[in-house]
């Protein structure tokens, strides 16, 4: 009698909860794997940034925040006082008698990113000025990400309230893009005009996210998060810059075509960014000097390689510009092993770079302001 064929029992369907648990475990494992991968093979610079909206419509440092910045080269703490300045004390608005004040406007360079507060060129400058026997207070209103347009609004709303004797604008090449991207001011027929009253990219979202303790912990400790944030931010910045450039391109090309010139297209866009920067600096100067203060611009050289830095600041007439480029180049020629910028992370100054910049600023401020011809009135 032939035996009956053996039918294998059908595999029981896997319970859904087991599939769900497996998926969740795999997802957790994937995140841990990715974190380890980035830590081991591409360690990130962790530069958390806590910003809030200021009453004058631009980003300001979150008052009272304290956080760590770290990379393969350093680990530094950033402490922000109750007035939103990177400082360990607060400053009354009324200037104490016998004290002179320097208001600093800038971005992450001005804030002293990637160095301890005491090593930043702003703190070093204060120490050097005080060492000369003069009583100086440096009011540092720098906020990472600011361009000259935001600095102008900050000067108007906050800087001048401290009755400065001098105002220092830390100018860096990123200001070209920042000024166009923020779209707070634009040039119409060569004249600077207000285009918007606020520029607060992602501030509310960041404020919400950083109000969550676990998110804050991840932001300050996770290399994977650092990588993702940098990548996404770079893409968004690039897209915004492209969008603004296209907008400016169309406007400038139309403007230029109307004037019968052929200088349109992308070169017109870069010319526009330079013209906007010059106009903003001229306005910063005008308003500073109208308040009776001395106006200086620090031209922060751009890093090209460990031995090469360049200045890309557009020519500005009638403005006192402090240029530490020669001092940096001289130093690196004499000390080829020196590192003046953190070139493995975000290209801010190292403590050594800060020291040289502070020396240059000190040298500039130790002499009276040169007599300069005011910039010509913008063409109508």
């Amino acid at each position: 009698m032939p035996s009956e064929p053996v039918v294998p029992p059908a595999a029981a369907p896997r319970p859904r909860w087991r599939v769900g648990v497996r998926v969740v475990l795999c997802a957790i494992y994937a995140v841990v794997f990715a974190e380890c991968f980035v830590r081991l093979l591409a360690p990130q610079t962790i530069l958390p940034r806590y910003v809030v909206a200021t009453p004058w419509g631009v980003r300001g440092n979150a008052p009272g925040s304290s956080y760590w910045q770290s990379s393969v080269d350093y680990r530094v703490q950033v402490r922000v006082n109750a007035q939103g300045m990177r400082a360990d004390r607060t400053f009354p608005e009324a200037k104490p008698a016998g004290t002179r004040r320097l208001v600093v406007l800038g971005d992450s360079f001005g804030m002293g990113y990637e160095v301890d507060l005491a090593d930043s060129f702003v703190s070093r400058l204060e120490a050097r000025l005080t060492a000369r026997g003069e009583r100086w207070e440096v009011i540092n209103l720098s906020v990472s990400g600011h361009g000259n347009a935001e600095e102008l609004l900050t000067l108007r709303a906050a800087g001048l309230r401290y009755q400065p004797d001098a105002v220092l604008v830390c100018w860096h090449s990123t200001d070209f893009d920042d000024n166009v991207r923020s779209n707070l001011f634009h040039l119409v027929g060569g004249r600077l005009e207000t285009a918007a009253t606020s520029y607060l990219p992602g501030v509310r979202l960041q404020a919400f996210l950083f109000s969550l303790a676990p998110y804050r912990w991840i932001g300050e400790n996770s290399h994977l998060y650092g990588f993702a944030r940098e990548t996404v931010a770079a893409r968004i910045k690039s897209a915004m810059a492209a969008w603004q450039s296209a907008r400016v391109d169309a406007a400038v090309a139309g403007d230029v075509a109307a004037e019968g010139s052929v200088n349109a297209g992308s070169s017109a866009v870069s010319n526009y960014a330079a013209d906007l920067t010059v106009a903003l600096l001229a306005e910063l100067r005008r308003e500073t000097e109208a308040a009776g203060a001395r106006f200086l611009v620090l031209d922060i050289p751009q890093w090209r390689s460990r031995q090469s830095f360049v200045s890309v600041m557009p020519p500005v007439s009638g403005i006192e510009v402090v240029r530490p480029l020669d001092r940096l180049l001289r130093h690196i020629a004499e000390h080829p092993q020196a590192r003046l910028y953190w070139d493995a992370s975000h290209y801010h100054f190292t403590p050594e770079g800060c020291r040289l910049v502070a020396e240059e600023l000190d040298a500039a401020m130790s002499v009276p302001a040169p007599a300069l011809t005011p910039p010509a009135a913008p063409a109508p």
Binding site: C26, A30, F33, A34, F37, V38, L41, A42, F227
Partner: protein, 544 residues
Amino acid sequence: MLFNSWVFAVFFVVVWSAYWLLRRHLGMQNLLLLAAGYVFYGWWDVRFLLLIVLTTVIDWHTGLTVGRGPMTRSERGRGAGFLIVAAFVCTVIRWPALRLGDWAAVIPGDLTSWRWFLAVGALIVVANLVYPVLAALPEARRNRVFLACTVVANLGILGFFKYWNFFASSLAAMTQACFGFTPSAWTLEVVLPVGISFYTFQTMSYTIDIYRRELKPTSSLMLFATYLSFFPQLMAGPIERAHNLLPQFANLRAWVPGAWRGALWLIAWGLFKKMVVADNLAPLVTAAFAPYDQGATTVPADGLRLLIGLYAFALQIYGDFSGYTDIARGTARLLGFELMVNFARPYLALSPSDFWRRWHISLSTWLRDYLYVPLGGNRGGSWGTYRNLILTMVLGGLWHGASWTFVLWGLFHGVLLAIYRAAGIRPEDGAWRWPARLAMGVLMFHLTCLGWLLFRAQNLATVGVFIEGILLHPVASPATWAGLRDLVFFAWPLVVYEIAAGLTVGEPMQRWPWFVRLNVWLLVVMYLLVFTARQAQEFIYFAF
């Protein structure tokens, strides 16, 4: 449109979605694929799309005439209509004006802008006058004449675009040397249409197979045009045979989501090979070769740096080309097609014949079937076989372009094949012990690298410099160690995967345990996210 671009990603998502929405309508699906193929190709340069259409029409006519008999007037009318419309779209319409919305300039009124259209019109008239005469010939003779005309037309187009610059500049140099003048009219600086070598060989195989009665012709012009312009493999292969791919267009593709996991793996792995391995090794290769490309002849003191550059090129060209193939196979599989395997871990080859069974398989089998075998193959005794091997490989080298280095590369591989055959060395047969197999594998890899040196060098002096530098100055410098570090860092996953896959029976990403697969996926995705080269490079084989 490059596979490794956002434009292609968007393009593919749109095509893929529309394609599966039409999954019950074969004709519409094929029409969509045809349009997608032409958009994909025309994105690069719409003018050269006309060449694909011309090749399509020529080979479709020949295929039908040879395989079935003379075509009807209506069939010829279909071909002529297709070609004339293509001529209008590709050469008359000003696409930049269309993009800018300058409607008045879209169709120019001057005669010069219509010259190619008129030329195509004249070609159609002449062809239709000649066709009845040739079609009336006795069948055997008619078939031979049509095949010959088609081969000449295909190779003529390919030869003109591929070799004109080489011959014209050689001729110009000769006339300059002999008569003191350079005829400027000859040196046209002809642009090489991307993918022309691939689709020409593909279409030739269709016609030859019909002539040999190994394939039945298709009476559908649209089906044939879709087969020839299938965008995943249009630019750089695999050079698909009609008997494998054409029937897949004739039948409804199955909606099998289960197959997509393998397809996505092929795409991810292909992107990894291209964007992480090949593109990150490109600067190493450039650093090693660039001074010699520009005429330098100095042998460096640190010869091992050149060896690192050569290893880097071996991995770059493999990552680049096989990466393209993997992406092509993956995208095709997402559309329900199965393309042939084009690479089978070639650097694990133990002998030259083993290498050519693993490297650019679609070309090596094409050369075997349509060149080596017709030349006599191994039927003419030992010397005849060696001659055929060398001749086939030299012509295979020339397929890559008109350059003496390509000829030498082909000659080198032909001679290697002949030597191994004469010596009867066949370590891949399995009779050899593993140490001997390992030694033969290492030897074969280095012989392959020597071949790549001939392939990559712009002149023979560079070959001499590399050989002298590596053999007589085997010294490492800091640049050597930095290069080795980059080479290992970017290529180790590829090398480890290839070896592990070589030890696995079947498709590794289906056979390995799920936890291993999960880790391989994570590693590849993280490498892609973190280490994609900043400077994206075009696929190397687009130049062939």
